[in-house]
């Protein structure tokens, strides 16, 4: 125990001595937590429309005005030809081109039907799908008005109307900050615990100081604990800082129990520290360690449901997500903070995280050889 105390003293001193590392560990994550959620917003706000009106009739004018007044759309240009309108899409100034053919009004009244062209920039799937469906709604609505107008009675009205009322629980206005803030919190912990431990241990390898430790009577477990405890403490401090920032800046205060949150954070940190240690046993240089850690962190970040729902992914991808500790941790943090879920609701995730912690650390210790 005495030996461990000395090692811990040394490690803590090393962390606090290097101002750059300290800033990276506490200041950068805090600043990112304050700033990033402001930038992360999936809302589709203005769908930009370029219109090509070949008809210049009362009806075509009305349709274009209706689209402009609907609140979803911004009419960015009215051009004389489709080719010109397409240029707006090419330069990303418009998302949709609406083309009203010549004879639109006349055909509508005489033939009883008429096509209009809706061309959507479909590279960005979300915007295309939403913009398209909004536009269809507006056109259908306009169509309804014309029918009443032309036939002069309301008999043609759709006489079976289904009204929809909806409410979003836990987040009435469906604001993204409630979703993003917990995600960034979890991400910060992951980066600190996973990245920094791996780098720290590999640095000892690279600079040869690990050789020096090997000839001292320090035991394996003492060395490992001496590395992990300081980072675990830093992680818990960071988590507390993050909760404070979430409260002050974003007004998000956990609905559920703090004890439960910290229990999960503690276990998750142990799992991620094990991951960092594991990476360090497989690599010989800081560059390698960084690349390997980065590789996994990228997968964790993009596939764990931090920003996109796991349920939407194909089955094989969901399997990968299941074997990612981050997936379970972010789920639980959201549940406890936003919905006040209790231990009974999250016991499965707790079990998974404990298994992760045991497996990752066990594997790392088996792999870690005192003699390189």
């Amino acid at each position: 125990m005495r030996v461990l105390r000395f090692i811990l003293k040394k490690e803590f001193r090393l962390i606090f001595r290097d101002k750059t590392i300290l800033a990276m560990m506490l200041v950068m994550p805090t600043v990112q937590l304050i700033i990033l959620p402001l930038a992360m917003n999936f809302d589709v706000k203005n769908v930009n429309v370029a219109v090509v009106d070949h008809d210049h009739s009362t009806y075509s004018q009305q349709l274009i005005n209706k689209i402009g007044a609907s609140g979803y759309f911004r009419i960015v240009a009215a051009t004389a030809s489709y080719g010109e309108a397409l240029q707006y899409i090419e330069t990303e100034k418009a998302d949709v081109v609406l083309e009203v053919p010549p004879g639109f009004e006349r055909n509508l009244v005489r033939e009883g039907m008429q096509k209009v062209g809706v061309s959507i920039d479909a590279i960005n799937g979300t915007k295309a799908a939403l913009g398209g469906s909004y536009l269809m709604t507006v056109i259908a609505d306009f169509n309804q008005n014309i029918r009443i107008n032309e036939s002069g009675n309301n008999a043609l009205q759709n006489n079976s109307n289904i009204g929809i009322t909806y409410s979003n629980w836990y987040n009435p206005l469906a604001e993204y900050r409630f979703y993003i803030v917990p995600a960034v919190m979890v991400l910060m912990l992951t980066l600190i615990a996973g990245f920094l431990t791996a780098l720290n241990i590999v640095r000892e390898k690279e600079s040869g100081t690990i050789e020096q430790i090997n000839v001292t009577p320090i035991k394996k477990w003492q060395f490992i604990l001496g590395k992990m405890i300081p980072f675990w403490v830093v992680g818990i401090v960071l988590f507390t800082l993050a909760l404070t920032v979430a409260r002050i800046v974003y007004g998000i205060w956990p609905v559920g129990s703090f004890a439960l949150l910290y229990l999960f954070a503690g276990v998750y940190l142990v799992a991620m520290l094990g991951f960092g240690l594991l990476v360090s046993t497989y690599t010989n240089s800081q560059l390698q360690a960084m690349f390997v850690a980065f590789f996994f962190v990228m997968i964790f970040v993009l596939m764990s449901g931090l920003f996109t729902a796991v349920d939407s992914m194909p089955v094989w991808a969901r399997t990968i997500a299941f074997f990612t500790p981050l997936t379970h941790f972010v789920k639980v943090v959201r549940m406890i903070i936003l919905k006040g879920s209790g231990f009974a609701d999250v016991q499965a995730e707790f079990l998974y995280l404990v298994i992760f912690a045991v497996v990752l650390n066990g594997w790392a210790i088996l792999n870690y050889r005192k003699t390189s």
Partner: protein, 368 residues
């Protein structure tokens, strides 16, 4: 000149000797492109929905059947009450609930106006909003089917055309985004340790007594990484085409040249970091941890830039990946020429020059 070639060759050997780094460098982008190209999609699917049907009549049953046959929902019809909805949200077994009131069908057929209620778990706002959209359009379709007069006059038929993406590939937007992200991080990280490693290992003296100007020393350091990164980029494009079935619509030569410019920009930024830091660890933390999140956020492939406060839109202008993402979308997916992207090209060029200048200014030609 001959000496310089020898010097570059030395640097090459240096890089190629490290097999593991090479493996990581090529293996990572490959795995990531394939993984994200297939897994990431902007669509919301498999939403767990609880149905509480208090009407149990023809209309409500037909609507539930329609919802079940759409690929978006997984319907859970266990008999739960309104009271238990909160429980299903709290333990995560459902994300939303649809409630039919008693007499729903009767209201619909005889009063001409019926109500349904949707309750969503707002802790995932994206899914919550999508649910309302999906159900609204399913109900609208149902209304059309049952409306009394099928052959209505004065019909406007919208003809939808999906430009650049006829198949409706939901991950098309992510592919150029992930390309920009991976290249940016890998290239910056590679060169960010190039000079600082020499400082740490005390081999700077050798560089300083070499007969070359600092600019040439830096170039010699960067050349092997440039070659590697170009090979890497080629591999990524081949994968995008043959594995992810992305058709390259524009000029391959232009795509290659622009990518080379982007790689040079990132390598220059790496050199800048390398010359302004004092340890490999700091350099790597800056180039990877410091860069990863801003790149993911400000490239514009995940979060629409136009939604951000203007200050962030300003910040996004200094992220090279943002400009490269625009370029690659224009050339690869839209098939446009240089005429459309000369501005973005100039921006990248400017960034490369600025970064190189700062790197040179900080390249210590004396031992401290």
């Amino acid at each position: 000149m001959k000496q310089l070639l020898v010097f570059i060759r030395k640097e090459f050997f240096h890089v190629f000797r490290d097999r593991r780094t090479l493996l990581i460098m090529f293996g990572l982008p490959v795995v990531q492109i394939v993984l994200f190209g297939f897994a990431l999609t902007s669509e919301v699917k498999n939403i767990t929905l609880t149905v509480i049907d208090n009407a149990r009549d023809v209309n409500s049953t037909q609507i539930i059947h329609k919802i079940k046959s759409s690929s978006y929902f997984i319907v859970n019809e266990s008999h739960i009450n309104y009271k238990d909805i909160a429980t299903t949200f709290r333990n995560g077994s459902a994300k939303c609930a649809l409630i039919f009131p008693e007499g729903f069908g009767n209201d619909l057929q005889h009063v001409g106006n019926a109500q349904v209620q949707i309750i969503t778990d707002g802790s995932d706002p994206n899914t919550a909003k999508t649910v309302v959209n999906y159900i609204t359009s399913i109900l609208a379709g149902y209304q059309q089917e049952i409306s009394a007069s099928p052959g209505l006059p004065y019909k406007i038929i919208p003809e939808q055309r999906m430009l650049y993406n006829e198949e409706g590939n939901g991950s098309l937007n992510f592919i150029p985004g992930v390309m920009a992200l991976v290249l940016m991080i890998v290239c910056t990280a590679l060169t960010s340790v190039a000079v600082v490693r020499e400082k740490e290992q005390g081999t700077m003296e050798i560089l300083l007594v070499s007969p070359f100007k600092p600019l040439l020393v830096l170039l010699a350091k960067a050349v092997p990484y440039l070659v590697l990164s170009l090979a890497n980029f080629t591999l990524i494009v081949v994968l995008a085409v043959f594995v992810l079935n992305v058709a390259i619509k524009g000029s391959i030569l232009l795509l290659f040249m622009e990518s080379m410019l982007f790689i040079i920009t990132c390598l220059s930024i790496g050199l800048m970091i390398s010359n302004t830091t004092s340890s490999q660890q700091t350099a790597l933390l800056l180039s990877m941890m410091g860069m990863m999140l801003p790149t993911i956020i400000f490239t514009g492939f995940m979060f629409p830039l136009e939604n951000m406060p203007w200050i962030f839109q300003m910040i996004s202008n200094v992220i090279p990946a943002r400009w490269y993402f625009l370029i690659i979308k224009a050339v690869m997916l839209k098939g446009l020429g240089l005429r459309y992207i000369w501005k973005e090209t100039l921006v990248l060029l400017g960034m490369a020059l600025v970064a190189l200048t700062i790197a040179l200014k900080n390249f210590k030609t004396r031992l401290s």
